[in-house]
Amino acid sequence: MCKNHFSPVQCIIPPYVNDKLTDSDNKEISKNAINSKFRNYRFRSDRDFFKNTTLQEKTVLGAISRKQDKLKNPKMQVFNCNKSTSLTNATLVWKDTDTRLPRDKDAKNVVQAGRGTWNFYYDLFGRNSIDNLGMTIQQYIHYDKKYSNAFWDGRKMIFGDGDGTLFGSFTTDIDIIGHELTHGVTQFEANLDYHVQAGALNESFSDVFGIMIKQRMRNEDVKESNWLIGENVLLGNNYALRSLKAPGTAYLNHPEIGDDPQPATMNDFIKLPDTAAGDWGGVHYNSGIPNFAFYVTAFNLGGFAWEKAGRIWYGALTDTTHLKCNATFADMKKVTVRIAGELFGKKSLEEKAVKDGWAAAKV
């Protein structure tokens, strides 16, 4: 039995049970139930309030600095699938309490990039892991035989070794690990649908934060970065999975996969069926458009992308009031322009840079 029967935080009592208890003839039970109802209301109210506060408000209220004292290391586990598709039979090969890095190269890659990703979200935005509630980051490596992909399954990240001819290991690029982890952040924030424009925004957030995570780990500013996602995993000297700087140029004349099909502007939006074979309406194709808007914004602002453009995009990702799960590119434009105004002032250079970014992408 729970230690404190009536605390909504420590013990979950369904509201309908609590409501009945408030009418109890036993005055003590009734009093506790009423108190519990009040605390429950306050708890929900506080949570709603903090969910909608800006980064500046959180800092002023001390919500970030207090957390930073408590949280030093990310909670993380790495599992080896041993070339099987079973996650339940995977072996735990590393956990955050281990003092040494794992020997396995792929395990080491996901630990280092996982830490970089966790630090990025924590240091810059005070975010406590994927769900902002300290969720343990679970990464599964050596999935399946010659599996050429990495994915987020709703709770975990899974990485294949690649086929060795077209693709190398999917753990070799920091930005891919950051990309997958950001799918988790998106799930717990804007939770954008994985279809058509909302899906392309979902993919774009993963690319945008994936590239910034890599840039920060390499200490690269907007001019030093090549703005390429997956520059190692797609084998060959001049290939990457995507380019934020020039969507549609990440790979050209590739003997197996031809040319990068991503559009950079709305004029070239690709209409595909909303099916698995149609990439759910081209979510990995049309993400080139918001990716390009972000690149132009960040490049015009200069310095490190995460300092200004990154703050604006994170503000949008976590603005669940205005960025709905079925958001379009036009909705995203409105939200980012508004947030730039809130963070840096109306008619500020930052607000103009955001407008120019979306104008370049013809949204």
Binding site: G230, I257, P261, A277, D279
Partner: protein, 89 residues
Amino acid sequence: MKITLLRTGGILPLTKKAEKEVDWSEEETGKLIDAIKVEDDSPGTMRDATTYQLMNNAGTFSIDLEKVPAKYKKTFEDLKDNLKVVKPG
């Protein structure tokens, strides 16, 4: 009968394909498809995931390879091992 295994999707969406001749009867194939067919292939919370489809003369079906009965495991493993990229365009 010719069957085709297709794999689509991924962080870089590609279609991979492998074909094989099998001596299964239509009834047997129908039962197999009923056993491995995925009714709802929507992405749910999966992101960048790959999905499999089985194509035969009756149509194209989204399937779950984990559900393949032991008797057919080797056929599907062979198909999976021989998946080749379908060049876009």
